[in-house]
Amino acid sequence: MVNSFLENLIQAISIAKKDAKIYYFKPPVIMFGIVFPVFLYFAFSIGRRVPSAMLIPGIAAIITFFGSSSIEAVAFTLERRTGTLDRLLAAPVPFNTIILGKSFASFAFGFILSLIFVITVIPFTGFTIINPILFVIGVAISSLTFAAFGMPLSVYARELPETMMPLNVIRLPMIFVCGVFIPVETMPIPLQIVAYLLPLTYSVDALRQATTGSIIIHTFLIDMVALILFFIALQMLSTRMLKKTIP
């Protein structure tokens, strides 16, 4: 049992390493994972008096969100199109291991990208993170959840627009609903309900608490648990969907 778990974990890490080598520098990943969030940062920071303690955790969450969810949206679709997905499906690798491996590759991308952003903006903005350990934990758990976010949409797709279009239709409104620029508490009740059904809300809240140091430990824990539950649910959904793609 333990052996089998370890074997599958090693297989998942191999898939992640392979995806990192192949997909991290693909144009759609750079476009949607790096360029787009950076422009978003400038759009909301230049000429506006938004405090950096409010803005930067939100942008970090968006970078994590877009970075992590872009990799597998691209990888799955391209692998299906080129036939390399058959390599994984013909190998003695369980479906959930394939999904986990792909999540690991996305997780690493979003995690590293978000930390690079924060480290880069600190000297220019004078921005400080009161609790860096919780901030890193928050970014890590967020990356893992968002890594699984694009998966259910991309498992079936053969062409990139089939994945990217619906993914962006979901991702873009989330920026405005999940408290990145407008605190969730100030929004109308129906929007607040929608916000709490979306993982980005919990990520923004956790990173903001870690940045400002105003941590209420049980709400931080709730944020983490919610994100982990989203991750598990999305993994299960993606695994089920991948099984269904076998003709």
């Binding site: 090693i10 036939g83 390599r87 499906l89 190998a91 003695p92």
Partner: protein, 349 residues
Amino acid sequence: MKKRNEAARFPILNAKKVICLDTAIKALELTKRYDDKLAVDNIDFEVMEGEFFGMLGPNGAGKTTTIRMLTGLTKPTKGKAIVARYDVYRESSEAKRRLGLVPEISNLYNELTAWDNLMFMAELYQVPKSERAKRARELLELFDLYDRYKQRVMKFSKGLKRRLTIALALVHSPEILFLDEPTAGLDVQSSRMIRTLIKRLNKEENTTIFLTTHYIEEADELCQRVAIINKGRIVALDNPEKLKIAARGESVIEVTFDKIPNRIEDELMHMDYIGNVTRHGDKLRLFIEDPSEDILSIANFAQMKGLKIISINTLKPTLEEAFIELTGLSPIMIERLEQMKPKGRGRSG
């Protein structure tokens, strides 16, 4: 009706009746339906350990669907696939661990080097860490790719990609190797190299080979037994020699006279023992029941007509004849089949 009688001459293995302990692959009532189309229709067969088994059929006959069902890439609508004693769907990991697959299209990671492709597959198939590099080096040398191990696969030619695809399928030393049209579209040199390597693998390492092809000569040259598949059904299964003999109910004598008088075909056709006469350049092909008795009658006919026999040969039946007879291909399809033959190949017998 005629077709059914012809098909009845060919032995079709009934896997339900034959159960051997050393069966490597077993297809039991394997069926695949895509919406209205029946791609594979209730096929049964067995492949023994160490056997070189071929599946021959025209495009769209169901070869690739069969291989995909046997390797767990497609779910059968009905029936069962047993590979290396494991049910491909119920004990998927165990079965997949023991098989290697070379798909019809070389599905390599083009962005990675040949070495990285091999290492990734070795990790995926859990080849022990201490053996991975040794195995990869052996395969690269075997397939004459070692000097390119640092090159990205996207720079490889079609033939090189094909060789690497086969090397990847062998990284975990599988008991059974499935090859889907391994030489399709390759140049003569690459095709020959691949055929030689597959033969060696089967002979020296006792690897069971399941090969699909639409090259009749390839099946004839390599396979110990051949299943001819058409429209999703196995119409014949036997060794190539038996199929050839069974395909041709009558023998063919090819004769060249010093001249060909007008209406000679009609005159020959009037002779009792000749079923049909066709002309091929300066040669006449006579379809007869028993060549040993009828050659003398042909010599007498020549003498009577004042013709000299330049040459006379009994033509050996070919697997192609069996294939065409069983698949019921039209003359247009036969012509296409001719075009599909790889150029520059010698006939093996």
